[in-house]
Amino acid sequence: MTAKSRPLWQRILLSVWLRPILLVIILLVLWDLAIRLFKVPPYLIPAPEAVVRQLINEWPKLWRESLVTTYATLGGFALSIAFGIPMALLIAYSRTVESFVYPLLVFSQSIPKIAIAPLFVVWFGFGIIPKVICAFLLGFFPIVVSTVAGFKSVDNDMIDLARSMKAGRLATFMRISLPQALPSLFAGLKVSVTLAVVGAVVGEFVGSNSGIGYLLQIANGNFDLPLMFAALVVLSMIGVLLFVAVDVVERLMIPWHASHRNDFTATA
């Protein structure tokens, strides 16, 4: 109601979509000011203007390489889901599995992926597979942890209630446990998808003939910092878009959840 009475420019200014863009613009201005004020030389940090210019000039190349990185990211993310969620279910529902697997999982997570990534190239060659595995290794842990947490925090009284009403195990799972676990599962998916982007680029750094990671290496070798930053911007955009995609799926699957209820009234 208040939204309608406000003038148009105010509504645009306050719209949820515009706010982050506004912040980006403010940060760009600060970046530019900092470079001018402190006289930061371009071989250490490029000016935002130079980065934007490279972003436009090199767009065809950036677009081509970003597709490659996106495929690897999605591959790793899909693997993370395919392995992570069943693994989390096993851990959540079996104390035996939990006691065997969980500590090992945490242990494996502390291994720096960049240290073992060169081995993936040795094992799987220079194609997309080592990148997908890197993305998977970074992406799958958050899914497991938050899914386990989700299923473990299901309200026991609710399950007792379902049982007392003679619901079978499957029905209890589908009606009570799964819906209650979904919010934290999605929280894990969101962390996972952004980490998968990082994983894919780690894979590309180590050994690859294409992708944003490959482009970053070349730009770095030529002291082309504007191109390097432009590639980083594109990379971050991939992360943002994938995050938003997961968010949209989340809204569709759990529109009832508290984290979305407010948004819906605000944007309605």
């Binding site: 371009p42 071989y43 040795v122 220079f126 690859s208 070798g221 030529n222 002291f223």
Partner: protein
């Protein structure tokens, strides 16, 4: 027992008194950042440090490992390290983009850049590269000169297959047979391959096919040079002595390096590398000069190559004299 402790104490005391005046005389603390993790090419600096050449010039030298010439150049430009040991061609490219750095001595006057593989694969001439797989590191100095080598030897991109990976992946690929060849230095990658597999390596040197440019050298920050010309002179005097002595006595140099960095390699292969390194100290156009002095013709050729193939913009690059000087050498 007590007596022994007291003699020990007396000895320490005597030592500290003796070393007292030397310590009081403030030495200039200087960081030399290498182009890469320590390998045989760096042995002369460890020899110079061990023998006290730098100390005698009033310099307290701290040798730090690097992570690629580009990073070393940036560190020197930013003043994080006062001196750098880096690929001069890479430095020129950074300087052309505004980094305030200059080469004050060129150690390797002929480029060691090579394309190499196991000797038993019989790849000995550029023509043998046809149909093979070559591993490169995108963006590094060798990958940028590689197209020129191909042009000079009448090879086309389509004649062979190329795979890209970081420094370690390149080695792994050749060791595991995913690639037949890699771009590298005989005293670095060739030795690493040899140490890992105990198999002989055959390098095809770019320089033998008309692709020559200067390689590693000593670089400093321009502002630092302006403020400390005397210190730079003293440093270069010690460095020149170090290189000369290492060329004469490669074994002592390698020993000094391995003593300071036991993990930096094996003695036998490091010795081969050190000898190969010393073989590049003499410039093609100034063979009579002491090490680190570079000839104008050699630098001009390097510059021309960089403008033509290395992505150096001719208009903004200026002239080669802006990028190096022999003025601070003995």
């Amino acid at each position: 027992m007590f007596k022994r402790i007291s003699t020990l104490l007396a000895a320490t005391l005597a030592c500290s008194i003796l070393s007292g005046p030397a310590a009081a005389q403030a030495k200039d603390k200087v960081i030399l950042m290498l182009n890469w993790y320590v390998y045989s090419e760096h042995a002369p600096f460890f020899l110079g440090k061990e023998r006290g050449y730098f100390e005698q010039e009033g310099i307290d030298l701290d040798i730090q490992e690097g992570r690629g010439s580009g990073v070393t150049v940036q560190a020197v430009a930013a003043g994080t390290a006062q001196f750098g040991y880096a690929d001069v061609a890479t430095m020129i490219k950074a300087a052309a983009k505004g980094a305030p750095v200059i080469a004050v001595g060129v150690a390797l006057q002929t480029s060691p850049m090579s394309v190499m593989g196991f000797a038993d694969k019989n790849i000995k001439t550029p023509a043998d590269i046809k149909g093979k797989i070559v591993a490169v590191t995108p963006g590094d100095s060798m990958s940028q000169i590689w197209p020129l080598f191909l042009k000079k030897t009448n090879l086309k991109d389509t004649d062979f297959q190329q795979v890209a990976g970081d420094a370690q992946t390149k080695l792994n690929a050749v060791i595991n047979g995913q690639a037949d060849l890699l771009l590298g230095y005989p005293m670095d990658q060739a030795i690493k391959l040899q140490d890992a597999t105990k198999k002989a390596i055959y390098p095809i040197r770019f320089a033998d096919y008309g692709v020559n440019l200067v390689s590693s050298g000593i670089i400093v920050n321009k502002d630092y040079l302006k403020k400390n010309p005397d210190l730079v002179k003293r440093f270069m005097r010690a460095a020149t002595r170090s290189l000369e002595e290492a060329a004469k006595n490669p074994e002592a140099a390698v020993d000094a390096m391995l003593k300071a960095n036991p993990k930096s390699g094996f003695k036998d292969s490091a010795l081969v590398g050190m000898k190969a390194t010393a073989g590049l100290y003499k410039g093609p156009d100034n063979p009579g000069d002491r090490p680190l002095r570079v000839g104008a013709k050699n630098m001009n050729e390097t510059f021309a190559l960089l403008v033509e193939y290395g992505g150096l913009d001719k208009a903004s690059a200026g002239k080669i004299e802006d990028y190096y000087t022999n003025d601070f050498l003995p």
